[in-house]
């Protein structure tokens, strides 16, 4: 039978079917109809004229450039640049650096640098490799990531120009804003001092990575060992200014620490030997801890050097206490030592103040003088760097001026003042030029019959004038103490009482209800009285003219008042804050070792246990100020009548359209004015136009303007000196600080390896006590194994690295969080703080180590993860549709809990739990939609709660391990 040739299928070329197919085809290609021709044939719509395009582009670029230039907000200078890669970098990229890339992805910004490009002989191969690596990075890092090329080495060094370019590039680099990074400070460790584990480093914004959490016991700032050159606007640095500071290095045994550069003599650096002496030192320091101020002062002590390097410890200690107490500026101390003329320390303090030894022979014993000379010499470098002291000098100046009642100006130098002073006149004074602060100081030390008086006159090279207002709080303190100095003991007693009262005013309820300002003014009044008293006392010795004196005195008084008002309030609030709380235990005396004498401090107790209320009660009403109301008097520029009048002038003329009358504003009697006014109007119009233009041009950039404005505001805060700034805004990025950490494991110090940089990360306030962390997680596509719930995994989240037991779950549609046994291949991720997980850090694994990446979603103290739970039972008695079921529960109580629950059999017969039966415990009656068989199993599906393990374990760092 001959096979009949079949007719070939013919495609339809016309008709509705063909049209439909055509449409379908276009849709498959994701191209629309005719209007999408541009998409279909992009070449046809390409730019016709290159020149025109260029012009357009240039124009666009220019405006864009101008805009972005405005937008550029400088990032604080210290950027931690990490250079990493395998030895002889640039050749291959195996799996190791890729895991590092991922580390960088979650924690910062990365910029691949390709080196050794010269080792490619052929240009084509080079191009190919470049392209391959670029695409590799684009998939790994982010699409469009820029690479940096270093062409090759010359004499074993990279080429200068290229490195320069790279440096420039890093400085102008824009970072992706990582919210986490912004809100968490970190420090790159620099010097590790082993006895107290004190570290210094650049602050960028504490937990030592890989070691654990510690609380900082102390922070203070240090001068930058590698400070920026003075002049900023230079393209490149001089050879002299090019500084390289290698962290964790002493340059030939020279150690920068605090304000002292110490030279390591060798042999004294053994850790074991130091323990005892440092312990004593620390103890002595701890005993002096009282206020935050004190701590701050402590921080600036040079503990390390005294403990470790300086053999002459005693003298240093003395000096130290002197300096420390000086820095504390505690009222008690200041007033205390002034009375006690035999107090040696007091003398030292005084002289520590007087950096340059210039003193009269009369007041002080020869022997002491020598000692003091030594001390003040030794103290010199410490003194020179502190701004405060400089200012203090000027304050002292003020006081002395008052005390001496010299009518002369600041510039009329001390020779005259010495005469006008008092008993100390005629003494030769030695003036010495201090090389550090370049100010010649002249000091008269005089001793009166009533008390020992230390008055300092410092006339410096003219940059401190009498009326200079300095807002340092220490200073007002100074003015206080120096004032008290001038009084005799009785007066002083009164003042001290008053002051201590004042210091408690804020907290005590009784005094607190009174107006605070009143309190301050009280003190002021008192001071004024004292001044009057002083005046009387010193009148006979006065030599200069009365009139002049009065003037200067008035000025001084005004200055004093200005000084006292603000800083006193600050001191009232912060100065004595912790006193009441900490004193409690210290004041108790022991009696016979068994009983304690408690002296009930009435005022304090009432304060501590009084009513907790935020209302501010009124005691004495004032004269009410009508000017507080809109109906009261206004400032000149805002006065309604005036503003109205101005408006009248400008807009007074109007035409009433209804009646056709033309109303003239008060044009004034003089017609000449009209021309001037016209001119004015014209100018006004022009100005407005300009403003409009400016606003129009600015466009959307107003947000940045606001931002810049705010930054300027912040800049205003910056004209304070460092110490004051640190108090208000804490340590700002880029400062070189010293951090003390206690209770660090000894292995850390023992196995300290400077090759591993130490990074201290700061933690937010409540980050230390978070219970459970919920994360969005995705298994890394290169990780080969499958992740299982309850399989320990090491996480690196923020500063923390810890091993924990995760539970994987998904959220169902009804909000139920259902446990998963195994991690699925793909899951959602959301933006936020990044993290990544590794299974082991120990050793080097041949395979890809990163198991998963994701983001933190939520933090909580408790979490509800459930898993499916099936309760099973069997019928033991079957009626028509009702059955008695056993083996599912143990007690009637449990049955009662499940009453009404849905029950089903494996064969999908549905039913309901009715009620518990009495006979065998735990059996119950259930009704089904059909009759059951005896053999069928009954199920109740419930959700059982899964409790996660409370476990987090900090894996030992290699640093800690290496010694094991």
């Amino acid at each position: 039978m001959e096979a009949k040739e079949q007719k070939k299928h013919r495609k339809k070329n016309s008709g509705p079917k063909a049209e439909n197919k055509k449409k379908q085809h276009l849709q498959d290609l994701q191209l629309g109809d005719e209007e999408d021709a541009q998409k279909r044939n992009p070449k046809a719509f390409a730019v016709q004229s290159a020149a025109r395009c260029l012009l357009f582009l240039v124009f666009m670029n220019r405006t864009q450039d101008l805009k972005t230039k405005k937008h550029h907000i400088p990032v604080p200078p210290p950027i931690v640049v990490v250079v990493m890669g395998p030895p002889k970098v640039g050749k291959h990229f195996d799996t190791m650096p890729h895991s590092e890339l991922h580390l960088a992805e979650v924690d910062g910004d990365q910029r691949p640098v390709l080196t050794h490009l010269d080792s490619f002989k052929h240009n084509k191969q080079l191009k190919k490799t470049k392209k391959r690596l670029k695409h590799r990075f684009w998939t790994e890092v982010y699409p469009g990531a820029k690479l940096f090329y270093l062409s090759g080495m010359l004499h074993g060094e990279y080429q200068n120009q290229e490195i320069h370019n790279l440096g420039c590039f890093i400085t102008v680099m824009k970072f992706r804003p990582l919210t986490w990074q912004i809100s968490h400070p970190y420090i790159l460790g620099d010097i590790l001092t082993d006895f107290l584990s004190a570290e210094a480093g650049f602050l960028k914004g504490s937990c030592v990575l890989g070691i654990g959490d510690f609380t900082m016991s102390d922070v203070s700032f240090l001068p930058d060992p590698c400070a920026l050159p003075e002049q900023q606007k230079k393209r490149c640095l001089n050879e002299k200014e090019k500084l390289v500071y290698v962290p964790v290095s002493g340059v030939g045994g020279v150690l920068y620490n605090k304000d002292v550069v110490s030279v390591d003599l060798g042999g004294s650096h053994d850790f074991q030997d130091e323990v005892v002496s440092t312990h004593v030192l620390v103890q002595s320091l701890i005993s002096t801890h009282s206020t935050i101020d004190a701590k701050m002062a402590l921080g600036s002590e040079d503990i390390d050097n005294q403990g470790l390097l300086m053999p002459k410890e005693e003298k240093q200690m003395d000096l130290k206490t002197g300096r420390m107490r000086w820095k504390e500026m505690d009222l008690e101390i200041m007033t205390g030592w002034k009375n006690d003329s035999s107090d040696e320390e007091a003398d030292e303090e005084e002289n520590a103040k007087v950096t340059d030894e210039c003193m009269t022979a009369k007041g002080i014993k020869r022997q002491k003088l020598e000692e003091l000379e030594e001390d003040s010499k030794a103290d010199f470098p410490a003194f020179a760097d502190s701004d405060d002291d400089l200012e203090r000098n000027s304050a002292e100046e003020e006081e002395v001026e008052e005390a001496d009642e010299s009518s002369e100006e600041e510039d009329c130098i001390a020779g005259e003042r010495g005469i006008s002073g008092s008993k100390a006149s005629g003494e030769g004074s030695i003036t010495e030029l201090s090389p550090a602060n370049h100010q010649s100081e002249r000091v008269n030390l005089k001793k009166s019959l009533l008390m020992k008086k230390a008055a300092l006159t410092t006339s410096n090279s003219g940059h401190c004038t009498a009326t200079e207002v300095i807002s340092s709080q220490d200073e007002s303190e100074e003015s206080f103490s120096l004032n008290t100095e001038e009084e005799d003991s009785e007066n002083q007693e009164v003042l001290r009482k008053k002051l201590s009262k004042a210091s408690q005013v804020g907290s005590s309820q009784k005094l607190g209800s009174r107006n605070l300002i009143d309190e301050t003014s009280d003190i002021e009044d008192l001071l004024k009285e004292e001044e009057d008293y002083k005046e009387e006392k010193n009148d006979p010795t006065e030599t200069s003219g009365k009139l002049k004196f009065n003037l200067s005195k008035k000025a001084a008084e005004a200055f004093l008042r200005q000084q006292q008002a603000a800083p006193n309030l600050q001191k009232l609030i912060y100065g004595t804050a912790t006193e009441d709380n900490e004193e409690d235990d210290d004041t108790q005396e022991e009696l016979g070792g068994l009983f304690r004498v408690t002296q009930p401090d009435r005022g304090c107790k009432r304060k501590a246990d009084s009513l907790d209320c935020s209302r501010f009660l009124v005691e004495a009403p004032h004269d009410w100020d009508l000017d507080c109301f809109v109906t009261g008097k206004w400032e000149d520029d805002k006065h309604a009548a005036k503003v109205l009048a101005e408006d009248e002038e400008l807009y007074g003329d109007f035409e009433d359209l209804k009646t056709g009358d033309v109303h003239k504003g008060k044009s004034g009697p003089i017609t000449q004015n009209e021309d001037i006014e016209k001119e004015k109007k014209h100018l006004d119009k022009k100005r407005k136009l300009k403003m409009f233009d400016a606003e129009y041009d600015e466009g959307e950039s107003t947000y940045f303007d606001d931002l810049r404005g705010e930054m300027q505001k912040q800049a205003q805060v910056r004209n304070l000196n460092d110490e004051a700034r640190v108090q208000y805004e804490s340590f700002r990025p880029g400062m070189y600080v010293r951090v003390e950490i206690e209770n660090v494991p000894c292995e850390f110090v023992r196995n300290f390896d400077p090759h591993y940089p130490i990074i201290l990360g700061g933690l937010g306030n409540s980050e230390g006590n978070v219970g459970y962390v919920q994360m969005g997680l995705q298994k890394h596509r290169w990780y080969k194994k499958i992740l299982k719930s309850r399989d320990p995994v090491i996480f690196s989240v923020g500063w923390r690295r810890f091993q924990t037991i995760p539970l994987y779950y998904v959220e169902d549609h009804n909000g139920r969080q259902r446990l998963l046994k195994y991690m699925p291949q793909h899951m959602h991720c959301e933006a936020g703080t990044g993290f990544l997980a590794i299974q082991s850090v120990r050793g080097i694994m041949p395979d890809f180590r990163i198991t998963a990446t994701g983001v933190v979603l939520d933090l909580d103290k408790s979490i509800k993860i459930v898993k499916k739970l099936k309760l099973t039972g069997f019928p033991y008695k079957i009626f028509k549709n009702t059955s008695f079921i056993k083996g599912m529960f143990n007690s009637a109580l449990k049955v009662a809990k499940f009453e009404g629950a849905v029950i089903r059999t494996v064969s999908r017969i549905r039913g309901q739990i009715k009620n518990a039966l009495r006979a065998p415990e735990g059996t119950f009656q259930a009704s089904f939609e059909d009759k059951l068989l005896m053999s069928v199993e009954c199920l109740v599906c419930v959700q059982g709660r899964v409790l996660p393990f409370m476990l987090d374990f900090y894996p030992c760092d290699q640093r800690l391990e290496s010694g094991l």
Partner: protein, 373 residues
């Protein structure tokens, strides 16, 4: 295991609320000893216990330990949770006592807080709910806490000693707060008020209004004092009346004063005329003190400045109240933040009493507990 931040230790029951609130926000545990240790009736009072219970309700995972006599309290804060909470406040103190602390905490919850508080709405000790509604809420709005759900509603009024009032406070959650620059207090442009009376003659409120107006009319004509007479179940369990006045300035700050009648059976009866007059005088005093923030809310403003972004915030205040001064100290010990305090004497620019300009850089607090979704 993460080591706990070391706890702060205090003695005495004063400023208990501040300490617990700051502890909760900073996450640092706090230990308070010697709570009325020498008192005949030592230990925590009912209202304090009630406050601690409220804190426990709005947080998750807090640990509270109180010794047998109630003289020592250890509080380890959990996470601020929020959500819907109902709380019966102690009638010994007003609802304001509890609400003040809730205002500090509410913006930093995990879930928006909606709390029903029952107790004494107006009393003589604590700021009343009316005043907080009129002053604290606009203040919070300055920090960017705003929205539909931000409200404080007085459902029932309750006077001491019986109580029986009810308020509903709901507040949205914010991740960060805006820094503020409140340096111009402006001038008083209008005065509003609320004269309330429960379980007494409705005429009382009218008499209060008349007497208060008689004083305030000399200063400004724009005065309106509402009368609010609650009846039946809304009037609580005890009789009483009172007045709260709020002055609004041209720059949108609110200053307030209030007075309430003596609780039933305590002290002599107060004439509504006297009460109105005294309250008006208190308002004038408050205006004299001035500043951009009401004296009762000083601490709230300072707290929110502290918790703001890392930026400079400025606020001009009247004389600092003792409560605020202690609060500043606590801020320093909990958050290590110091304010720059400048005294501004009155003069051309500033009217009334001396002012204090408070400046600080926020610590960049961010609401950790808020869920990212």
């Amino acid at each position: 295991m993460a080591t706990q931040a070391h706890s702060l230790s205090y003695a005495g029951c004063n400023f208990l609320r501040q300490r617990l609130v700051l502890s909760t926000l900073s996450g640092r545990p706090v230990k308070i000893r010697k709570i009325r240790a020498r008192d005949d009736n030592p230990g925590l009072r009912d209202f304090e216990a009630s406050f601690i219970r409220l804190l426990d309700k709005i947080t998750n995972g807090s640990r509270i330990e109180i010794n047998q006599t109630g003289t020592t309290l250890y509080y380890q804060p959990g996470l601020l949770y929020g959500g819907s909470v109902e709380h019966d406040c102690s009638v010994l103190r007003g609802i304001g006592y509890y609400l003040e602390s809730l205002l500090c905490l509410a913006p930093f919850m995990k879930h928006p807080l909606k709390v029903v508080l029952r107790g004494v709405t107006n009393d003589q000790v604590d700021p009343s709910v009316d005043v907080l509604k009129a002053t604290a809420l606009p203040l919070l709005k300055q920090f960017g806490i705003d929205g539909e759900s931000f409200e404080l509603k007085i459902v029932r009024r309750g006077m001491p000693p019986g109580g029986g009032g009810e308020v509903v406070f709901s507040c949205p959650v914010r991740k960060i707060l805006k820094p503020i620059q409140l340096t111009d207090p402006g001038k008083i442009k209008r005065i509003r008020g609320m004269a309330y009376s429960v379980r007494v003659s409705p005429q009382m409120a009218n008499r209060i209004v008349d007497s208060a107006r008689s004083i305030l009319n000399k200063f400004i004509p724009d005065i309106y004092i509402y009368t609010d007479h609650m009846k039946g179940v809304n009037s609580g369990k005890s009789p009483g009346f009172g007045l709260s006045l709020v002055a609004e300035t041209t720059s949108g700050t609110f200053l307030s004063a209030e007075l309430a009648s003596n609780p039933q059976g305590q002290g002599a009866a107060v004439l509504p005329e006297d009460l109105g007059r005294n309250c008006a005088q208190l308002l004038l005093e408050e205006i004299y003190r001035g500043g951009c923030v009401d004296s009762t809310n000083q601490s709230l403003a300072l707290l929110l400045m502290t918790l703001g972004q890392q930026d400079v915030s400025k606020v001009l205040l009247g004389p600092l109240s003792p409560y605020t001064i202690e609060f500043l100290r606590h801020l320093k010990s909990f958050f290590q933040i110091m304010f720059k305090i400048e005294t501004k004497p009155c003069g051309e620019e500033l009217k009334g009493g001396d002012k204090v300009l408070m400046t600080c850089v926020g610590i960049g607090f961010s609401n950790l507990s808020k869920t990212l979704k």
